[in-house]
């Protein structure tokens, strides 16, 4: 998402490296570059102006000019300011109450219905809640049908009603939730323009007569400068408690994220980063700032892994890696776990220095992973534990069984051997773990 903007900022910072100290003259180019990077990312014009002048002012401050490593100090200034822009602390979704009601709103096509499904899925998985999806988009054809299908695929109940009164639907759905021991009501509403007074009134009516724990604006990360009008418009009418930025898996530069909190004080709670139902990530300003500056986001990777691999399993595997007894059987298990993490590209992007290593633009064909899996699955369990027994005839059988070529089988074995060696070196302390 922020890769491109990050690249330009990193470049600007690189140029500062090697300078004895920061002076107004020598950071002007860097500041210009940062300004363009932010503007090209659709960051609000006034935010850009404020940001650049703040960074410049701090950079020219006394501490920096005395520093021996001006580029490092400069990066820190930029990072701190980015964190500030992105809103400082992470504001989680409200989940403390026994019974919660949350309403999603936004423009047409921002991704409310999909996000409703993702939220329900996450609440059930991570917070052990029993969500109810409520279909209140009574205008768009088949919108109710869409939510029903999403609920079906997730096995989460969906409340629908043939009624043109949204407030009534909401009230009935809350009754329904209570009767059926469901404890987190997610209201999906129709897309509307923030200047559409009639439709805004509909939401205001709900907000004023129903006790809502959260009113969340769902907003497209590809939005340009009009984003601020939209957010302000919704916020003035509904007192938003948060935002969810969608479609962040595109190549948008996501400048909205940088303008939003700063100009409205509405926190970003999640970003939508895939079309799958688990494609919703918490938004941590510090981590995001580090990603913009290519400093990696190890914490998010660790959390993702935590949700999938149990601690015991992880220990056993780590032990095996250390002893060098990690075999193809273990490899297969690991691969299956990695698959659960979602698209591998998303993980690689979060590694420190990812852009420097060119990992940000990698496209991994899920088919390649499937081929590797097929090859390993065509081995007998004995062969997987003792790959050294694999000679020509066995390899031919495996190639046939998996529908791949012998060369591919060889390549896989070679790579596995190399990986084993690397792992041994790492555990011997000769090499640092990449993470």
């Amino acid at each position: 998402m922020f890769e491109y903007m990050g690249d330009r900022i990193s470049n600007a910072i690189k140029n500062i490296r090697g300078m004895g100290k920061i002076t107004e003259d020598n950071i002007n180019d860097a500041m210009k570059e940062i300004r363009m990077a932010l503007l090209e990312a659709d960051v609000n014009y006034s935010v850009v102006k404020e940001f650049t002048s703040k960074v410049k002012e701090k950079a020219l401050g006394e501490e920096v000019s005395k520093s021996l490593k001006p580029d490092e100090v400069f990066i820190k200034i930029v990072k701190d300011e980015l964190v500030e822009l992105l809103g400082g602390d992470y504001v989680p979704l409200h989940t403390e109450d026994k019974f919660e009601v949350i309403m999603l709103c936004g423009l047409q096509g921002s991704g409310k219905t999909t996000t409703a499904g993702k939220l329900a899925n996450m609440l059930r998985k991570k917070h052990s809640r029993k969500p109810l999806l409520v279909a209140c988009d009574i205008y768009r054809p088949a919108a109710i049908d869409q939510l029903k299908q999403i609920g079906n695929s997730l096995n989460i109940p969906v409340y629908t009603e043939d009624n043109k009164n949204v407030l009534e639907i909401v009230n009935h759905s809350i009754e329904y939730a209570k009767e059926n021991e469901l404890d987190y009501v997610i209201i999906d509403t129709a897309g509307r323009l923030q200047i559409d007074e009639v439709l805004m009134q509909e939401l205001k009516d709900v907000a004023s007569s129903v006790s809502l724990n959260e009113i969340i604006l769902v907003i497209d990360a590809m939005m340009g400068q009009d984003a601020i009008n939209v957010i302000t418009g919704f916020n003035e009418n509904l007192s938003l408690t948060g935002c969810i930025l969608t479609k962040m898996d595109g190549d948008t530069k996501g400048g909205v994220a940088l303008s939003l909190r700063h100009l409205t004080n509405v926190p970003i709670k999640f970003v939508g980063d895939s079309e799958k139902m688990d494609g919703l990530s918490e938004f941590y300003p510090v981590r995001m700032a580090e990603r913009i500056l290519d400093m990696g986001d190890i914490l998010s990777i660790a959390e993702k892994v935590e949700g999938i691999v149990s601690e015991d399993d992880a220990k056993i595997q780590a032990e095996k890696l250390k002893k060098g007894t990690f075999d193809l059987e273990d490899f297969l298990t690991t691969m299956k776990q990695i698959k659960k993490l979602g698209p591998l590209e998303n993980i690689l992007k979060m590694l420190p220095g990812a852009r420097n290593m060119g990992l940000n633009n990698i496209n991994i064909d899920p088919k390649d992973m499937a081929h590797v899996e097929a090859i390993i699955l065509s081995m007998t369990p004995y062969e997987r534990r003792h790959p050294e027994v694999l000679k020509a005839t066995r390899k031919q059988r495996i190639a046939k069984g998996s529908g791949r070529s012998v060369e591919e089988v060889n390549r896989l074995l070679k790579q596995f051997e190399m990986m084993q060696k690397m792992m041994k070196q790492m555990s011997n302390g000769k090499m640092k773990m990449p993470f």
Binding site: D42, Q146, K148, K247
Partner: protein
């Protein structure tokens, strides 16, 4: 003053026109763009009041206004350089006059370069196939409904094919629109889009449809697999009907920022995009990104969406568009 005078003439001429339809059309543009315009115009006017002389501050504020209209940083920077040159060489000091120069230069951005047709290419015989593509949530399905309405009211036989087999409810959504507009419909859920489109095209030929509108799933332009799928869809259409698709329209949301340029570039690489439909222009977004897209990718806008009604899709007319944007200034 080139364009500006032309615009004035155009407006006074248009006001004399008794032709109801044309009046109606101008009114529509006017109302649809009202919110878009108000903001932009008041800013330009304030600029004129605030500064009686052309100086660096004036330029900075103008730059701000243009960027806020989503015209795109590169396009704006180039535009500003050009404007600065003109101010210098023509020795312009009067901000009132500069306003005219600004409008003039803005129009040049759009009309410069290879002139592309803003008309829809209709097949000389057999069905005219129009393929709709774009990222998620821009309004492809709704635009198809509006296009169907337009062609049906022109007496054409229209067929819709539901090529979005991915999003939940998408086939149903288009089906409902077919029903409401009176179009023929072909769709099947949970299948490969290319095969649905193949079957749909056979049915379109059987039914002797004049216009075939094909919906596709929203896809982010950096998703390689989805873009490959689009390539396949294109091949199926190409091999099935000669010269088809006659139009491939990229639907772009008016609120899109500079990612719109990336969208136009990426989709153009995969398919032969013939034009843009700019949707949701009835909001506060200015849709300025189309100027950048025209400049950088050379794609013209063919239709704009000005509201949720079936009649709210209008052919794009740069003169009407600018007329709508700048009416209050003149």
């Amino acid at each position: 003053m080139g364009f500006f005078n032309k615009l004035k003439n155009l407006i006074s001429k248009k006001e004399e026109v008794k032709d109801k339809i044309e009046q109606e059309e101008i009114k529509n543009y006017d109302e649809g763009l009202k919110k878009t315009r108000e903001n932009f115009i008041s800013k330009l006017n304030v600029l004129g009041i605030k500064y009686t002389k052309v100086n660096e501050e004036y330029f900075e504020e103008l730059e701000n206004i243009l960027i806020m209209a989503d015209i795109g940083v590169n396009t704006v920077m180039k535009f500003m350089d050009k404007l600065r040159d003109r101010v210098k060489s023509e020795n312009i000091t009067d901000t009132e006059y500069l306003k005219e120069v600004i409008v003039d230069e803005l129009l040049i951005i759009y009309v410069e370069g290879e002139s592309l047709s803003d008309k829809i290419n209709i097949a000389s015989s057999g069905p005219t196939v129009i393929l709709m593509v774009g990222v998620n949530g821009v309004g492809k399905t709704t635009t198809i409904a509006k296009l169907a309405h337009k062609y049906i009211s022109e007496g054409k036989k229209v067929m819709m094919i539901a090529g979005d087999t991915f999003r939940a409810g998408a086939v149903n959504q288009l089906g409902i629109w077919a029903n409401r507009t009176g179009a023929e419909f072909y769709g099947k859920e949970e299948t490969d889009p290319a095969s649905v489109i193949y079957d749909g095209l056979i049915k379109a030929k059987e039914l002797n449809a004049d216009i075939v509108l094909i919906d596709t799933a929203g896809r982010l332009q950096n998703k390689v697999n989805l873009m490959k799928e689009l390539e396949k869809i294109n091949k199926v259409i190409e091999t099935h009907i000669e010269g088809a698709p006659h139009e491939t329209l990229l639907v772009i949301d008016a609120s899109t920022g500079q990612n719109g340029i990336m969208q136009a570039k990426s989709f153009k690489e995969i398919t032969n995009i013939t034009g843009i439909v700019l949707t949701k222009l009835d909001g506060t977004a200015k849709g300025g990104i189309v100027l950048a897209i025209k400049e950088e990718v050379n794609l013209p806008v063919k239709f704009i969406g000005l509201g949720e009604k079936m009649t709210d899709l209008k052919p794009f007319d740069i003169e009407n568009y600018i007329y709508g944007l700048f009416k209050d200034m003149i």
